[in-house]
């Protein structure tokens, strides 16, 4: 996973609420056995409109996406995060996310920034003409107009993003603890193993 610290550039002023993962990547794009090339299917229905934001000269390849409440709701498909990543997006800024999507985003080096709607409204305004600056280390979103918004992030997620950490390698360090848990489970509740 590519580490992430500072991201600056144009931010797509998308703004819609309840954007579900079927909108981010429709199911027919899921019929693949790889993680690559999902960007072509990203926001497919929206991008059928030739005047869509994602393909405009101004926002094509922009590293930041601004959205409304409950971004990434619905399906658990990690393809949504792969699609955003393949589009070049490293940061999403929204008032809230579905729990599964925000986890998938972090595991793919995409930072889900949570800011209140008032901050979103201001950033949407700035994003119409100017870049936005995101600093994960200091947990800030700033603009060249003296806007400065700070955001909260779970420290574990922050560490994973800053270091580009592979969670499986981290968990493997707990191998002995997992083994001890399994032994205790077999002793205390042997019926937990599938019977057949």
């Amino acid at each position: 996973m590519t580490p992430l610290d500072k991201v600056e550039g144009r931010a797509i002023p998308f703004g819609l609420k309840n954007v579900d993962t079927d909108v981010i990547i429709p199911a027919h794009w899921l019929k693949t056995t790889t993680r690559e090339g999902m960007g072509r299917g990203a926001f497919e229905a929206i991008r059928k409109d030739p005047d869509n934001l994602f393909d405009s000269a101004e926002y094509k390849g922009a590293p930041i996406l601004i959205a409304g409440d409950n971004f990434g709701c619905g399906s658990s498909r990690e393809h949504a995060a792969w699609a955003l990543g393949d589009l070049g997006i490293r940061v999403v800024i929204a008032p809230s996310y579905s729990d599964i999507f925000s986890g998938n985003a972090v595991k793919n080096g995409i930072l889900p920034v949570v800011l209140p709607q008032t901050a979103i409204d201001r950033l949407m305004e700035v994003a119409a003409t100017d870049p936005v600056f995101v600093d994960l280390e200091h947990q800030t979103v700033t603009t060249q107009f003296q806007d400065r918004f700070t955001f909260e992030i779970d420290p574990f997620r922050k560490m994973c993003l800053l270091e580009g950490l592979d969670e499986i390698s981290l968990t493997e360090k707990s191998d002995a603890a997992i083994g001890a848990y399994e032994q205790k489970l077999d002793a205390d509740r042997p019926w937990m193993r599938p019977a057949a």
């Binding site: 819609l16 309840n18 027919h28 996310y97 560490m159 499986i168 193993r193 019977a195």
Partner: protein
């Protein structure tokens, strides 16, 4: 004396392997369900890193998402090929990966094959008090038997395959209490649609929802699975319903459920899991069951719910400006005008199926409405897709398949079907579908498809009249 705890807290506490200083917990996973769509990249990851599956005995694989629901065997009993090469490749990958890693595999033509969330409880693989994950958000379904069950992404699928654990933060708890008795024609699906309308699509975000109250306790296991299935539609990664005698009676004797003395020990443990008196939830919503009507969605978010007796709302009727914008977009997509009576909305397609509503009780409810009637002429496509081969066999033994086919509906093979537009079962652009599935998102049932979420009985009623219909009028 220990602090009173909720059902969620008890299951969570029993699964903590390790807690990191930052509060993140390593949680043991008791059951991992795997299907063909979200697993290939996870197995590829294992292969690339030279890792193995830590606990193949706790893993069960079954294809469901992109399998066509048409006949799978020819007259001679040979497997028919899948026409779509990408779907065929995903299925082939699962058929190769499962045995290679020693994972139990129910193949596409096995009598037990079906939708993973129907198969888990039906096989007794899903049990109360366990942690269950699957690369599918409707894993929340298994909360209906009192399991802490939630959907995960493909990176997490790989993490569970490799370590049988997940790194998680504890969720907040939310109680949705439904008290009283529901009226005639009101089913588990109407209860969860109504709840989703009340709490909103993000109402449960960051929470695990426990459904309580007399109206929930009165539900069968099938009904409870329907309710918990759609916890995710209210933003909650998991739903829970306390296991009780109804649950135990459903599970006893199922293939993977404990037997003999093990069964007694298991039941004793499961009985200890109910939320303690005095335990606090972070949030509680109380709903009067008498307020719940047969329900239907009008928009493109599962929170867009009205009673069938209601009308299409005007965007201006919502207080939140962003909801006004969203509602206007939804109505344009759905081709609906504010003020239109829901019962005047014509329907061209009917889908009875999905992990929400494809169990035997669902098929019985639909058949009871449609028996002796015929689908309306304007209904072009109407399919009934049982949730598993065992549900299909049971329905056929009861003669339900004949009731459907006599009425002009198609009787299909088990699978996810028209819930999600990744197999041949799709709704054409611009057409409406009365669907027993769980999501009315833009394009969910096919590009441009217009979905109205309803119960199986309501879908059957729409099939008969060719428009959205108050099923109570047909039951009278």
């Amino acid at each position: 004396m220990t602090r009173p705890r909720t059902l969620y807290e008890k299951i969570w506490d029993a699964h903590v392997v390790e807690q990191r200083p930052d509060g993140t917990c390593l949680i043991f996973i008791d059951r991992h369900l795997v299907h063909e769509v979200t697993s290939p990249q996870a197995f590829a990851g294992l292969r690339a890193s030279g890792r193995t599956v830590r606990r193949p005995d706790l893993t069960l694989a079954v294809p469901d998402h992109n399998l066509p629901t048409t006949a799978r065997l020819d007259a001679a009993g040979n497997r028919l090929p899948i026409a779509d090469p990408e779907s065929a490749a995903q299925l082939a990958a699962l058929e190769k990966n499962a045995p290679e890693y020693g994972i139990r595999y129910i193949d596409a033509v096995a009598p037990e094959q079906g939708i993973v969330h129907v198969v888990g409880p039906e096989q007794g693989f899903s049990l109360p008090g366990t942690t269950i994950v699957c690369g599918d958000s409707h894993t929340a379904c298994h909360g209906g038997i009192g399991a802490l069950a939630f959907g995960i992404g493909t990176s997490e699928v790989e993490h569970v395959l490799a370590t049988q654990t997940l790194l998680l933060q504890p969720a907040r708890t939310m109680e949705v209490r439904v008290e009283g008795e529901v009226g005639p024609g009101v089913t588990a699906k109407d209860i969860i649609l109504h709840i989703t309308g009340v709490i909103g699509a993000a109402g449960g975000t960051g929470h695990v929802i426990e459904y309580t109250g007399s109206a929930i306790r009165a539900l069968s296991v099938e009904g409870r699975l329907t309710v918990s299935n759609m916890a995710i539609e209210g933003g909650a990664r998991a739903g829970l319903i306390a296991p009780d005698d109804v649950t135990f009676e459903y599970l006893e004797g199922r293939p993977y459920a404990p037997k003999g003395a093990d069964w007694e020990a298991a039941v004793a443990y499961w009985k200890s899991l109910a939320t303690d008196p005095g335990a606090a939830y972070d949030k509680t919503v109380v709903i009067d069951a008498a307020d719940i009507a047969p329900s239907v969605t009008w928009g493109t978010s599962p929170e867009d719910v009205v009673p069938i007796t209601g009308v299409v709302p005007a965007p201006g009727s919502f207080a939140d400006p962003s909801k006004q914008t969203a509602a206007a977009k939804s109505l344009a997509y759905m081709g609906l005008e504010p003020g239109t009576r829901m019962q005047d909305v014509p329907i061209e397609n009917i889908f009875i199926g999905s992990c929400t509503n494809s169990r035997i009780e669902d098929l019985r409810a639909a058949a009871a409405v449609i028996k002796g009637r015929h689908k309306a002429d304007n209904v072009k496509w109407a399919i009934v897709v049982p949730g598993s081969g065992l549900v299909k066999a049971q329905a056929e033994a009861e003669g339900l398949d004949r009731i459907f086919t006599d009425a002009g509906l198609e009787w299909r093979e088990p699978g996810c079907s028209a819930c999600l537009a990744m197999n041949p079962d799709k709704v054409p652009a611009g057409e409406r579908c009365a669907s027993t599935s769980n999501r009315n998102f833009v394009g969910r049932q096919g590009p441009g498809a217009r979905t109205h979420l309803v119960s199986p009985a309501m879908a059957a009623a729409a099939a008969v009249t060719g428009k959205l219909t108050d099923v109570r009028e047909l039951l009278a």
